[in-house]
C-alpha cells in the first residue's frame, strides 16, 4: 500500500477546475442575491415604474435629472455625507478609546465587554423609541434632570439647532460598541512582547500606542471604518421615527428621502434611481478601502 498522500485536486477534476467548482455555489448565490436585484434596480431607475399602476415606461435619465434638480435630495445627500463622516469619526475615536481601555484592564474585562456591548444589541427602533421617551419635553427623564439642575431644556427633535446633533449622539452611542468589539478583538492579538520591547527602548504610553498598537490593528481599523461608513450611510429608522427628516429637512437622509418621495408614493422607478445614486456614493466613500484591499 502506497504511503503517498491523496490530493483532493488530483483525478478527473484536475488542478484548475476543482477550486472553481468549489467556489461555484457561493458565486451563484452571490449572483442571485446581489446582481439580480442590482440589475433590476438599475433598469427600473430608467423607468417611471409605479407599483400600483403596474406600468413602466422608459424615460431615460428622467429620474436622475429630477433627483438632482430636487433641493431636498441635494440637502439629503449633504446631510447623509455630513452625518456619516461625523458619526464614523466619533464612533472610531470612542470605540478605539474604550477598546484600549478595556484591553488594559487587569480584572473585569469580561463584564466590561458584556456591558459595553448592550447598546449595540438593541434594535435601532427600540433605541429610537427609548430616546424619544427620555428626551420628551413633557415626561422625559432628561428634561426633568436638566430642569432640576437649572439647565436649559430643548425641544430636542423639533428644533433645527438640536435635531441633527441629537440623532448623531444617539447613533454614536449605539454603534461605539461595534467598533469597540472589533478593535478589542484585534488588540487581543497584539503580542505583549512588542510592548515590552518598546518599553525597554524607553517608549512612553503614547509612543507605544502610536508605534505598536496602531500598526498592529490598522487593518481592523480600516475594515471597521468601511463597515461603519456603509452602515451609517443607510441610516433610516432613527430619522424616520424621531424626526421624519425634519425640522425643515435638517435631518433628512438619502434613505429617508427615498422613503418619502419614492417608496411611500410607490414610485419605485424614482426610488430605484435614488438607490443607485446612493450605491455609487457609498462606493466612492469606500474606494479607499477597496483600493487598499486590491493592493
Amino acid at each position: 500500500m502506497s504511503n503517498k498522500p491523496y490530493k483532493l485536486s488530483e483525478g478527473a477534476l484536475g488542478d484548475r477546475a476543482f477550486p472553481h467548482i468549489m467556489l461555484a455555489p457561493t458565486l451563484i448565490v452571490l449572483t442571485v442575491m446581489t446582481l439580480y436585484p442590482l440589475v433590476f434596480t438599475f433598469i427600473y431607475s430608467f423607468t417611471d415604474y409605479n407599483y400600483l399602476k403596474q406600468s413602466a415606461s422608459f424615460i431615460g435619465f428622467g429620474n436622475y435629472i429630477t433627483l438632482f434638480k430636487n433641493n431636498y435630495f441635494r440637502q439629503a445627500i449633504f446631510n447623509t455625507v455630513k452625518f456619516t463622516l461625523l458619526a464614523v469619526m466619533f464612533e472610531m475615536f470612542f470605540g478605539l478609546l474604550v477598546a484600549v481601555f478595556v484591553n488594559s484592564l487587569k480584572k473585569g474585562q469580561k463584564i466590561m465587554r458584556t456591558l459595553l456591548l448592550l447598546p449595540y444589541l438593541l434594535p435601532a427602533v427600540t433605541v429610537a423609541l427609548s430616546f424619544r421617551m427620555m428626551l420628551s419635553p413633557n415626561y422625559g427623564i432628561t428634561t426633568q434632570v436638566l430642569t432640576t439642575l437649572g439647565l436649559p431644556v430643548y425641544n430636542w427633535f423639533h428644533e433645527i439647532k438640536t435635531a441633527f446633533n441629537t440623532i448623531l449622539l444617539i447613533d454614536v452611542w449605539q454603534n461605539v460598541p461595534f467598533v469597540f468589539l472589533l478593535l478589542y478583538a484585534s488588540l487581543q492579538t497584539v503580542s505583549s512582547d512588542q510592548y515590552e520591547a518598546a518599553s525597554i527602548d524607553g517608549a512612553n504610553v503614547l509612543q507605544q500606542f502610536w508605534n505598536v498598537t496602531v500598526p498592529n490593528i490598522k487593518n481592523s481599523i480600516a475594515l471597521c471604518t468601511l463597515l461603519r461608513t456603509i452602515d451609517t450611510f443607510r441610516l433610516f429608522e432613527k430619522v424616520n421615527i424621531l424626526t421624519g427628516g425634519g425640522p425643515a429637512n435638517s435631518t433628512a437622509t438619502i434613505t429617508q428621502f427615498l422613503y418619502n418621495y419614492g417608496i411611500k408614493n410607490l414610485k419605485f422607478g424614482f426610488g430605484s434611481a435614488g438607490a443607485i445614486v446612493m450605491t455609487v456614493l457609498v462606493l466612492i466613500l469606500s474606494s479607499f478601502y477597496i483600493k487598499k484591499a486590491i493592493q
Binding site: S136, N155, T255, L258, N265, G274, T279, I294
Partner: protein, 432 residues
Amino acid sequence: MKKFLAMILALAMIMTLAACGSQTASSAPQSSSSKETTAPAASSQASSSAPSSSEPQKLTLILRGGTYAEVIKAALPDFEAANNVKCEVLDLSFDDLHNKIALDATNEKGAYDLCMVDGSWMAEFTAHNVLANLSELGYKFDDDIIPNTTAICEVNGQIYLAPYFGNVTVMLYNKENVKNAGVDIGAVDSWEEIMTACKNAASQGKKGFLLRGDTPDNFVSDFLPLLLAFNGWVVDKDNKPTVNTPEFKEALNFYLDLIATGEAQSKDDIVAALDSGAATMAVGWPGWYVPADDKAASYIMIPPSAKKGGQKYATSEYGIWCVGITRNSQNKELAMKLLEYIMSPEVQLASIDNGGVPCRYSCLKNADVLAKMPHLQTVCDALENGVYRPVIEEWTEFTNILGAEMDNIINGVKTVDVGLADAQAQLEALMA
C-alpha cells in the same frame, strides 16, 4: 487575476450592503412603528379553501393601529364564536397601512380581507381597483349613518367603503389654562379667540398652541381647519393647486403667530402637555383623547370663523377611518359579514366604551351615552359639518410637497411668499 477577483468580491460586498439600504427604506418602517398582533386567536393567513365543520375559517384584517384597531379587536370574539372564524389582525401605522394594502393589491390572491382606509387614499385606491365593490356584495348605507361622512365612500353610485371611526378634527384644550387665560371656552367660535387664549397662557408661563411636527402630512392636516376658516383651500374645483393665494397666505401668517405661542411636538407629547397643563391648545382628533369631568383636558369643535363675528365656514376636517374589502380578498362574503357586523348600530354603540367614535346618530345622540360622555355631542356636530381632504390620486405626494414647504416656513428657512410660491410651482408640476 487575484487582484481582479479581489476587486469583484469587494465590489459585490459593498453593493450588497448598500443595496440593503434601499430595502431598509421600504421595510424598516414596518418594524419601526407598527406592531403585529393577533386578536383574539392566532391564525396564519387567509384561506380560500372551504373549511370543515370543525376547522374555523380565517380572515385577515389590516387596520390602523391604536384606538382605531382596538375597538374592532374588542368586537371580534363574538363574531368569531358565532361564525366559526378566526381573525388575524395587523395593526399598522398610517404609512405602513397604505403601503401594505397597495403592495398586496397587485396580487391575484390577496393576503388581506377587511382593510381600514383613510379617506385621502380613496381616489388612488379606486383608480387602481384596490377595493371590492360593496354594493355588488349587497351592502347599503342606512339612514342612521351621518350622511356627510359617506361623501367619499361612493364612486358612480357604488359603495366601496363604509365610515367606521368618526375621526374629525377638534380643538383640544387644557381647562385650567384656558380658564386662567380669561377665555370662556364654551363661547369660542373664532380663531381670534384661540389666539387670545394662547397668547394669554404664554404670558403666564405656559406653552400656548402646539402643532405636530413629525411628518409633512402632520403640518398640512393640522393647518387645514384654520385654512378653511379663512375661506381657503388647497385645490380649486378642478383640482388645480391653490396654495399661493391671499387666503392661504393670510391663514399661514395667522398660524405662524399662533404657533409662536407654543412649539412643535410629537402627538404623544401634545396629549401629555395638554393633560399636564404644560400647554394650552392644539388641533387634535377624538381618537387621541377621551375627555371626562375629572380630566384636565377636553375638546370643542374647530372654530368656524377666522375673526369674532366673521363669516362662518365648515372647518372640521375629516380623518374618518373607513372600512372596506380588498378586491382580491379570498373571503369576500365572510369579510362582508364582518363588515356589516362591525358597522351595525349595536356593535358601534358598544365600541364607545372602548374609545370608539361611531358615525351613527343612534350612537352619538344616545341619551345614556351622552350622559356619560357629553363630548360626543361635539364630535357629532363636527361630523355633520366635516370636510374631506381632496379626493385626488396624488394626495400623498401633494401633502409631501406642501408639508415640506410649510415645514421650511414654520422653521424660518423660507418666507411665506417664497415657500408658498415654491410649493405652488411644485404642485402645479405634480398635477399637470
